[in-house]
Symmetry: D2
């Protein structure tokens, strides 16, 4: 297969490196509107082919895959053209700027029998896969709540707020792990510097009394990336800032004890052992590329496809509406 | 002065120990409806005088102070009787179960020229006092946001949710440090086990584009007690789980750079040194007792008085309303 | 039984509190050469009986146990008199100032059928007991090395160096856990301030290719209390500064792979899961008092007896000789 | 200038990348006895020139620098040939397998007017440079002790023990920071698996009552890389496993108070603020390459030259002698 990568910012070189080292990819074309980025990428990866412009990529019949790593506001147009030209599409997160756009792309891919891969990279990390395994095995019991914090001192995006920048990671993990349908959301936060929020809190309500919360912040002096998953049987913490022992499973929880009728139900807590499972160290992006190529060969949707992209964008859109009205509940 | 302590649960013995070791207190009377607690306290502190019942305390003219450390639903009645019997009142947090109750007590104390001390103990810790000093000195600049997390695996209270149990600590610190007027709140959360929420998130909006958020949770497998204060000049983290270096001040922040008109305003971040000031180690409760006694002698209100108690209870009441309507904005 | 406690410094009040709350102790006599300490202890514990002098304790026939919590240079004389007056003896660590003294006391107790309890308190902590359980069960395999660090900014002792002050804790744990015979020691360090070393490193060699090392320091800006136990099967870390998860067991290790003869033996490492067992929270001193009293009732030696005290003192003595000669090997 | 790199193991690619991106280097030749490594490096760095054999490098008059990144036992022969062929030499650590070899190379370079750079990379990190700055400014006062721990679960080297593998890093930092003459060393440790020690402790004595200690271990389940520097005024901790705040300076220490004559000298400790300076983030190797090239241009010795290499090798040799005799003091 042959691939083209459009957009070579921070993430683009990682994409190119992984496509180049995949056994299934013969050639990698690259394009960026900034010629100096093309020079840089040519020096760093001797093997890439620099395309003259975007058209030459779309019109090149031997290109099977177009990977889009541009700012989000170009995702829709580029992805649409790629699909129209019968190419499979890889899109960075967030998928699109609106759920409507995502739906159009998903329908087009469906019609054409093409694959869309949304690069929710975290899904392919050893940590998230281990969490999924633990939850699916029933070890945690039913999931009661999911709490995520992703804060640090980060570059402001000029065109979107901190939710659109950081929350897609955490929302995609939440959808993957919980496999539940959200019903409504409420978002609060503040824009201290200009129109876009730099601090935000998103509450997501689910069916069956499950709840999740996301805290994202571009203006925190300390870097925290932590998730807590509370289950009826066990609880789990994922601390991505740890060098080792990123996942800890606590045999701790709450127990209800009936004591002379419902009015005296007693709630007690229980603390037990903790264990930290060994995690697979393979680079997430390598596994993502592999999954995408395999899904094309097997003519099935990849793990992180357009539907997943749409799910995340729907929450982003709703949170935007809610935060502008200070926590107003938005039903999904 | 002579003091009586009503209610000897978890916190009562600490109160008694500190009253006993104050040079200004001659006698300490104690009472609890549970006789075994009175036996225990008599064995542990030989000097205390066990009262026969509550009435004997209220009617005893030589008692100047009544400290109330019972469950919250008895605070109002006991405090009201104490004030009516011309005694100064010490009340554990949360002050009352409603803002209305708090107002009645505050007015009564005002009329009678008596002092009410609400035991927002954290205000007297070396850490909070150092934070106050740093903020008041202007070292942090204007405060942009205040973020607080207090989560652990904790005993459920049978009569209140996690907000009423844990948030008073953090709300009292926020009022003390920020000295700003909150305008509205939005609260979200979940009650996984019975009617009372075990996970809650409270957003508080302030005048002048300041924002604060409180995360409280009784069902977290890990214990986190951390506050982040973001200022225009510097930022501060208070991690109460650290054995040392509880307060860290970061010379980090965000800088706006005007670049060819407003449309190109550039936001950059800046990372500098960090320092961790030495903290005074005196027990907070000792300082609280001292402040209360001094305020009585000096015929002035103590640092943590009924107005502070009322401020906190108002937020608790509003958060209760909001959380039951999933984040509905409650104007204060 | 009736007990007397001689010496009320930092640790004495803890001893008194635990003797008082033991169901088997009827009375607790106390004595200290400093009258203000006796006043303090009388105020704090109404029930204690203040003795007039040491003689009145030794001559009091109803006293069964004498607990000695004075500076170490008085341990021998006081313990000897107590044994001569037919009393069981509790001695704080380090047991004596020389192995010779320890042997005299041990022989005297043996002759008289009396019990000596050396207060190696750490042996009774949940953490050390769990470590013992793990090692004895064979889960770690054979023990290869034992590494201990106990450093902080600490009060200098006027009469001994940092080894005599801090190492007894770690040496007693080592003897308890390893149950192996040390063969030789080598100690290095420095006395930066006056004649007594404030930094010291002790290497202890054992039979069967086992090794342990102890780092003690009174002049470290950070407080570290950590032990690492390396086994052929698993490895263990005990971090006493952690609030929770003090013990971590690592399913990690080294594997030898024969590869075409001994000259090509391959050493590989293996990383697996980690787990942190739940620990019993009972106060160590409470269990120590219980063990001592039970051992007297059952007419058997207590877990931490004079022999254990002697083992530790032998290493302390040898390390003193070695450190003065900069690491000279001292055969035990 | 033109450079050749001989030996492409773990570190070689980093060397090549940095030489390639230096503005002063026109061409980079590479050689390794393993052809597959040459294929790999050619694919990764299109610009490198693969040499046919070592001779073709030594005989190539346009090559100015030979960088040696082979196993240590080949360092001497390759470096000697390079110097003989009038090339400047870059050698990985440890410099040579004996002090004698190091002296021969140093003399040869001196005679020929050529530069030797020993790659003690840590000297060029922001952390070590900041430590040097703090010590040289006098902020810490006189240095009393230097304590270093570098332990983890590491690949055993087949030909050397853990000291030769890990300690060169720490010893080079010690020489750089302390700038003092060591007088004697004592080393202890154990070889649990085969002839080479996997755990080692090295004590180094200095003139003027200064002391340092190095703990290296290939068989620790946890990774620790920490240095403590104790000064008469302040103390410093360098924790290389921290993501941020790697250096912490403690305004803490010990104070001697004369109290009625020398016999009553009082030792007290003092705890003050801590601060963590911002560190330069430039890659150490980039700065090392720059320093080497600049030193050649300026016809002066580089910062980490053959003398530094020799200093480190002398301690390694002495520690080897000492450890085989269980701590025997080796005078330097």
């Amino acid at each position: 297969m042959k691939t083209a990568v459009i957009g070579i910012g921070y993430w683009g070189p990682n994409l190119i490196r992984n496509f180049l080292s995949s056994g299934s990819i013969e050639k990698v074309y690259v394009y960026d509107i900034n010629p100096s980025r093309l020079d840089f990428i040519k020096r760093r990866f001797g093997e890439v082919i620099v395309a003259e412009n975007e058209d030459s990529i779309f019109n090149n019949k031997e290109i099977d895959i177009v990977a889009i790593a541009t700012p989000v506001d170009r995702h829709f147009n580029l992805a649409k053209r790629a699909l129209e030209m019968n190419k499979h599409v890889w899109v960075e997160k967030p998928y699109t700027t609106s759920a409507e756009q995502a739906e159009i792309l998903n329908n087009l891919a469906e019609e054409k029998g093409l694959n869309i891969f949304v690069d929710h990279t975290f899904i392919y990390t050893g940590a998230v896969r281990k969490m999924k395994e633990l939850i699916d095995s029933g070890e945690l019991g039913d999931i009661l709540y999911f709490d995520s914090v992703r804060i640090n001192l980060g570059l402001f995006q000029s065109d979107v707020n901190v939710i659109w920048d950081l929350a897609p990671h955490d929302l995609s993990i939440m959808f993957y792990l919980l496999n539940k349908k959200p019903t409504a959301i409420s978002a609060n936060g503040i824009a201290n510097y200009y129109g876009h929020e730099n601090v935000a809190h998103i509450s997501v309500y689910f069916e069956n009394n499950c709840f999740s919360h996301f805290h994202v912040n571009w203006t925190s002096p300390v870097k925290i990336r932590r998730m807590i998953v509370g289950g009826t049987k066990k609880m789990l913490v994922f601390d991505d800032m740890e060098n080792s022992e990123k996942i800890k499973v606590y045999d701790s929880g709450i127990e209800m004890k009936e004591k002379e009728g419902i009015y005296n139900a007693l709630v007690q807590y229980r603390i037990g052992d903790m264990y930290s499972p060994k995690l697979v160290q393979t680079e997430a992006l390598t596994l993502g590329v592999e999954e995408f190529i395999t899904s094309i060969k097997e003519k099935r949707k990849p793990l992180t496809n357009g539907d997943d992209g749409l799910n995340v964008v729907r929450i982003l859109e709703a949170s935007h509406k809610s935060i502008k009205q200070k926590g107003k509940l938005i039903t999904l």
